[in-house]
């Protein structure tokens, strides 16, 4: 499958409720970062957890976020960052508002 995003693209982590196992932690939902790396594609955790193969693989990205964007009261230098793996179906182009 062709990845929808490229290294350097600005992306927003989708801020939506998902009751199933989905591996997108609440603290990054709605936050904006930048694609640091395009990783391999994997089955969707939302259905992989329920005894099947996870369906067609979805690309996983390493997204780099600034700590001061994650936490408005971040107690550290502005250059501190956090990187996290996010599945493609949890990312939106940054122009699109949720």
């Amino acid at each position: 499958m062709t990845p929808a995003f490229r290294v350097g693209d600005r992306v927003r982590v989708d801020d939506r409720y998902e009751p199933r196992h989905h591996r997108t932690p609440a603290y990054v939902k709605g936050k904006v970062g930048e694609v640091e790396r395009v990783c391999l594609a994997h089955g969707r955790p939302e259905i992989l957890a329920y005894r099947n193969d996870g369906g067609p693989p979805r690309t996983v990205y390493r997204v780099r976020l600034r700590q001061c964007d994650l936490w408005p009261d971040y107690n550290g230098p502005a250059h501190d960052t956090l990187e996290i793996e996010i599945f493609e179906h949890w990312l939106r182009p940054v122009e699109a508002r949720n």
């Binding site: 932690p25 603290y27 990783c39 996983v60 700590q67 990187e83 996290i84």
Partner: protein, 211 residues
């Protein structure tokens, strides 16, 4: 249950026993394990062999070798940073079952790893994770106040160095390549490996100083 506990008419040893599981999920896990053995899905021997296999991996005998090689061999370090699994395999070590990413600490960048959702850990290089790595406290605080947590581990990172937290949430595993300590010029790979601790490969500490 491992043993039954009838009242308190016998003396307890001074050192307390490992606590019996008490929570619903701990008991559920034990019951499931016993049922799977009873149904013949696997045997108690299989289970023991798996635990022994996990415990045969240690940071000293596995991960430290990878870091020491990276310190002495720039080509290997470049390969490790490019494709962690392939580089680890080239040393005859098991890279694990998923993508492995090596994170190089530099004078400008300090990497540290956490799994906020559970306890993802590069077990094929570092063995079983320490209890604190799985604690709710480490998992919730490292992403929120990394510099404070690092300081509690004795690792003060100057403000002009970027702290980069890696949340291992999905399919990748991470190992930190700490900076090679000063004063180790000319050291053998074997001697260098003794400076590479588990905590330095998680990123909560630096490699051991030479004195």
């Amino acid at each position: 249950m491992a043993h039954e506990h009838h009242g308190h008419d016998h003396p307890h040893p001074f050192q307390p026993d490992h606590p019996e599981p008490t929570s619903y999920y701990e008991l559920l896990g034990m019951a499931l394990n016993e049922l799977l053995i009873e149904k013949g899905v696997y045997t108690a021997g299989d289970m023991r062999a798996m635990i022994e296999q996990l415990e045969a991996v240690s940071p000293e005998t596995h991960g430290a070798k990878v870091v020491a090689r990276a310190w002495v061999d720039p080509d290997f370090k470049a390969a490790l940073l490019r494709d962690g699994a392939a580089a680890v395999s080239s040393l005859g070590l098991d890279p694990g079952y998923t993508e492995l990413t090596a994170l190089e600490n530099t004078p400008r960048l300090h990497n540290v790893v956490v799994c906020t959702l559970c306890s993802c850990y590069p077990r094929s290089l570092l063995g079983r994770p320490p209890a604190w790595y799985k604690s709710a406290s480490y998992r919730s605080r490292l992403v929120r106040e990394p510099r404070k947590v690092l300081a509690e581990f004795g690792t003060t990172v100057p403000d002009d160095v970027e702290v980069r937290v890696h949340d291992s949430t999905a399919e990748l595993r991470y190992v930190v390549v700490p900076m090679r300590p000063e004063g180790t010029e000319g050291w053998s790979e074997e001697d260098l490996a003794t400076l590479v601790t588990r905590d330095s490969m998680i990123g909560v500490a630096r490699a051991k100083a030479t004195r």
